[in-house]
Symmetry: C2
Subunit: 320 residues, 2 copies
């Protein structure tokens, strides 16, 4: 049973041939970070680039999971495979389990065309941000054509994570203003598509007018794309096909005019800087421990050398 | 006129012989950071260790400047020289000027036994924290026996900066609870001496009981030293001699039992780690610009190499 191994390369071979257990184990290794995550990154990178990522964000309770679940249903009707990463920056809880408020997704638990995974902060030194990039790349590399990335809220970390998507969907509700007041401008900035979910409730039209007005004023129409506003009632899957058509339209738009390539290039540069920065932090931690460090500290305390000379000494091998 | 030079070594020689202009210019160089700050650090380190630093912190309006000014007066009566560093982490304003709310210190502006200097964040790459350490060391090296470090508030940065002092004084007022609620525990932890300033106002006794109770409960008596509580009315200098006697008692206590040496060793280690960390950050900034980095980024974008290989390539010279 190849899938009982913990060797990243073997696991990746199994995952490529459709072994979901191997895929789950690879995601656990990514979450944990370290050398294995790096090995997985190097394996997946050459095979990635064909999947398309849709980020779904919005205030807690807006109905993101319900919309995600309805979207899965919509894609499955067309025999399309789909993977979901549910990202929770605030929770240490993890391990591939489905989070409590995501029970609706369990409708798809037995469907082999659907892969659902929760991720939280475990031990990845680059944090959830780098781990999410690596997880998306893995799902892409094993052949998932659609990857949905769902976050639990609309805080800074969530916005950063959803920025790793090709198309970003912001889910609001009638009367949304109160729940996301603090971050309205941030949401306007990242949204490629707005969804007014629970649109059967009172106030949907006011919310639409509110959004249209903000779009008029904000001049935040990304690259000549004015974020469309779609109304859904995700519990009954009403409006979901229209929602998805809008996502497809955005994809075609940014593919045709080169924006997608530019966005991906920008993200890759960001990721590269993140990798360098993390590596240097680890290096600083390494340097400031050990016998040589202790000895130099003592020499500084004894006024044999000064702190700058000590730093020079520690760093001389690394040109810093 | 030796003091018109901008050479750190010449300026330091002048400052050692009592040239206040040279001293002011050295502090400006420290504030600016960079190579000159480093040179000054190396010059001052062997000559430092004899001065004693007293940190004075407390909520805005507590009367820190008035207490500082009254303390200067008390020390000058005994013909003692004193230097004051007024640190403002929030203000970009600087340049040796006396801050607006520190006008009372101008009483001492013409006294050559007093040196007063404001410092803010200018360009020092290690931030105000490293710059403060270096400024204290300079004042110490040119022979100031007493260095008072005053901060504008009680935020995290202020607490960190005041942590560079040998004795830390926390100034509160009658009814102090409201103004520093969020940081009460932090203040209890750093205080070596409590001053209830404006003690002529209503509520001074309640504040004393409040503090005593917190000291009883908190078990934060540092190294068997229970922070004494002194009452002052700094405007009229009432209680200031008693306050200063308490500082002297604390100094004698920590000198006699070796705590002072331990504290200074700890601070020096912290500073050393800070220097190493900053140096690596600078190195990372160097690395993430420039032609080689551009070329590697392009190779990653073209899928010629993966991001980890690119990071390896950039960092191979520094062993990270």
């Amino acid at each position: 049973m190849a899938s009982r191994t913990s060797d990243p390369a073997e696991l990746f071979t199994s995952a490529l041939s459709g072994d979901r257990g191997a895929l789950a184990r690879l995601l656990s290794l990514i979450e944990r970070g370290g050398q294995d995550a790096r090995t997985i990154g190097r394996l997946t990178y050459p095979k990635s680039g064909n999947g398309y990522t849709v980020g779904i964000t919005g205030a807690p309770g807006a109905g993101k999971s319900t919309l995600t679940s309805a979207t899965i249903g919509h894609l499955r009707k067309q025999q399309l495979q789909v993977a979901v990463l549910a990202i929770d920056p605030s929770s240490p809880f993890t391990g591939g389990a489905i989070l409590g408020d995501r029970v609706r997704m369990q409708d798809h638990a037995t469907d082999t065309g659907v892969f659902i995974r929760s991720m939280a902060t475990r031990g990845h030194l680059g944090g959830l941000s780098l781990a999410t990039s690596e997880a998306i790349r893995l799902l892409d590399a094993v052949g998932c054509p659609w990857i949905l990335v769902e976050t639990v809220g609309v805080g800074q970390v969530e916005v950063e994570i959803v920025g790793k998507a090709d198309t970003t969907v912001v889910v609001v509700n009638p009367g949304w203003g109160d729940s996301v007041q603090a971050n309205k401008a941030g949401l306007m900035e990242i949204a490629d598509v707005f969804v007014i979910n629970k649109a059967d409730r009172k106030g949907a039209e006011e919310t639409r007018r509110d959004l249209e007005q903000m779009l008029d004023l904000s001049d935040l129409s990304h690259d000549a794309w004015r974020p469309p506003i779609v109304q859904t009632s995700a519990v009954s899957a009403e409006g979901v096909p229209e929602f998805w058509d809008t996502v497809i339209q955005h994809r075609e738009f940014i593919q045709a005019n080169g924006i997608l390539a530019k966005r991906r290039a920008f993200r890759l540069r960001e990721e590269l800087s993140e990798i360098v920065q993390r590596r240097l932090e680890l290096r600083a931690r390494d340097i400031c421990t050990g016998d040589q460090w202790d000895k130099l500290q003592q020499q500084v305390l004894d006024h044999v050398i000064d702190p700058w000379a000590a730093a020079d000494d520690m760093l001389k091998g690394i040109g810093a």
